[in-house]
Symmetry: D2
Subunit: 260 residues, 4 copies
């Protein structure tokens, strides 16, 4: 069995390193989760359990890959922002994509029981993924990308809430959809308030705003000195927030996250 | 919150459809499985349990994605051959890569307990992946690719067997490595036979040849007719073999697998 | 002036080598030749002079780049087929594209006076270009590509001939276009015959079929020996034909041109 | 001749649009100009005629393509900077590359006689080209790229001047090269001064610094009004300078050129 005669096929591998001076975003998305959420009995319109599981997986991803500086997720999608200068696996696209999506999936299955103690996994969930590059200094594009995702979160969640309120009050799914077709954001807010007494803005922020993950510093007491005084140290900790990313507020308080 | 002002970032997505008239190979590989196998107590030099788990996951992948026509794996890697004409997700590279690797990972974690009933998963295993394209008619390149993988399987397994035999008989890992450095294939066969009474060619084919997966037809009795005679039907079934892919034999018996 | 501080920008160059086991086609096309042909007084509907100039440039391209095995052109476009195994500039796309288009342009301008002795070049003509890859054995895709180009040549030329006949007989260009809209190939043949007495199939083949270039062997007398007998040698010569590429005939007589 | 059966090959064209939010650089380079300059009798070490021809071609390129905002050249290479937001041909790489290189070549051949009235073009000159992308706001990468090119100009020209001085005073080319091997910049300056009385910094700036092209505003008198007073208008004009691009000076005076 002469090895050399097959060696030539190795050359079919392409150079897939992503261009430098770009922030890299890996976005994963639950595959056919419409079906998955039905079969596994997710509450509608919103269920904290699967969202907490998603957030928990994302935290593990940030712990696993130090070059991910921020993550944002809602429903069954999550975006991971790799720092502009990362040299992880030479910035090879296939590596960044496959490792992110594989590790996320692995944690999702392993931790399922923690969040769904009563509900067995009926079949293996899977996630697809994609990679985008956002050039440079100032990270304006990355911030705009995140605003876009959060806007999609808002649009989806408001519609979804209306839809399920209508269904829970007796309409079929298609009747609810028909009812909502062409409605404006303000009309849907009105509908929730008038018909169901729901003030949309009072719903939990996690549903309305999605979840943002980032490393934050915290002061911790590591031990007491001989005199019994606390010795404090600064330590990085992954924090979950449900802030408004479209306002400049968040980034003003955390300029270091997307600094070049 | 005006949506339109962020819409422009959507355009950063690239067209990543793979070229037509090419067979597509997705290869996944266990990430840092040197450590993973140690921590989870895999037997050395060979352990059937993790190999059977890998094969089982690969079978699930073939069941999930009908356009995968063949798979070959050994150790902690698996190659999946998508048919030349597949239109799955428009042949988008990121979709094929992420879905394959995510689904494989998901099954791996879910089925772990079946193959390791006594051993908890200590941490989430993950797999990386890559995509290669092999043009054209006759699939000669794909067959040569598979021969290359099988050759790598052979080289690795023979060396690994020698190495662990030496370690099990008292040498340290680095002494074993030193002992084997520069040896030829035939010398290592000799070593196994002389020192340890092992005829390498008698070791289980799964270790030496890896595992090949493909759909095969089988005749099954679906029910009996009124006269008590069996009604038989042909049905596709995924078969696992440990054949020699470098010989033309296998492909001669299964020309339909890689037909255009 | 420290060099090193700028060296990092060199890394922005991407690897643009084209995949192996593919035939490479570079197609060039005259840029805004509608205007160019008007200003330089090309005869309508057909003019041999610019076509002969195009063919002459293409011959120079084949002489310059031995790895181009075939070329096909009509109007102001030309396709150059690089052999499947070419290693010219490591198959780098930008090199193949830029060198082909630059050399072609250079010859076009230099030889203009030979074909248009009475007509000065009013402004610099230019050509755009693109690169396509066609995988594999048998070159079926390349042949189909060439058939497609020849078919486009036929469709264009037949319509164009009708159009200018109508214009030459008194209609405006837009009236002619309107007149032809929605007509079938056979109707246009009929029109040419009935109204203008033209049998389309008797028009020069160069107009109807375009031009094919390839290397052919010819026997030549290189000198006479001492006895006065001719010493003959076989030599490669670039040949121009106006054959039908869609029939299998041409390729049957020249199987060596697109052999792998 | 059914068209449809070949239509499928059209799909082999790839989407080659360059990523947004990047400055695009097309660099062209004379192909084998070592030989070309010898055969066409270029003066050594420096000759203004071919440089003026190069500059003249580059001016034509800027006039032809309004989205090119800056160009820099020396010897037989020229870099063209397309503005970050250009939508020319949808930013398709093959179009930008081929059109730039083809138009440049065309002008080079057409204008040859103007700059070399005594010297016929012996054979068609050609240029290769490549495309690079430089992300983002502030254009720091583009400026560093230009500094790198200018630094290469300096290094080359200083060495080349030494080399030809040595050759002109009796050494062979290889002796001159040997003599210069391993010398530092300052040593070569010393050599020029001591042996040949040349103060390198007094050589023409075009040789030492290369040529920069950009659009500048100038006030022009377009006509006189009825009272005989000049009516002045601001108009863009392409300017050629031989400035130092590595100092911040140039860009401080021309911030608008590379503004986003």
């Amino acid at each position: 069995m002469a090895k050399s005669e097959y060696e030539y096929v190795r050359e079919q591998e392409r150079d897939d390193r992503l261009p430098k001076f770009n922030w890299i975003v890996v976005r994963i998305n639950g595959c056919d989760f419409h079906r998955f959420s039905k079969i596994h009995g997710f509450d509608r319109p919103n269920d904290e359990r699967p969202l907490n599981l998603m957030n928990n997986c994302a935290i593990s991803v940030l712990e696993q890959f130090p070059d991910i500086v921020f993550a944002y997720g809602f429903r069954h999608e999550y975006s991971f922002i790799w720092k502009e200068t990362t040299k992880f696996y030479e910035r090879r696209e296939s590596k960044l994509l496959s490792l992110s999506v594989s590790f996320f999936t692995s944690v999702y299955v392993m931790k399922w029981r923690v969040f769904f103690p009563e509900q067995e996994l009926v079949y293996p969930p899977s996630f697809d993924g994609r990679v985008m590059c956002f050039p440079g200094p100032g990270a304006r594009l990355v911030r705009d990308y995140l605003s876009l995702r959060q806007n999609d979160c808002h649009i989806f969640n408001q519609k979804n809430t209306c839809s399920w309120m209508l269904v829970n009050s007796g309409r079929t799914e298609s009747e609810a959809e028909e009812y909502l077709e062409g409605t404006q954001e303000s009309e849907r807010n009105e509908l929730l308030f008038q018909q169901f007494g729901i003030n949309y803005n009072n719903l939990p922020a996690m549903f309305r705003k999605g979840s943002s993950l980032f490393r934050d510093q915290e002061d911790v007491t590591v031990k007491l000195d001989d005199g019994g005084n606390p010795i404090r140290r600064t330590r990085k900790k992954i924090k979950v927030e449900h802030s408004d990313l479209s306002r400049k507020g968040f980034w003003r308080w955390h300029p270091e996250i997307l600094s070049d």
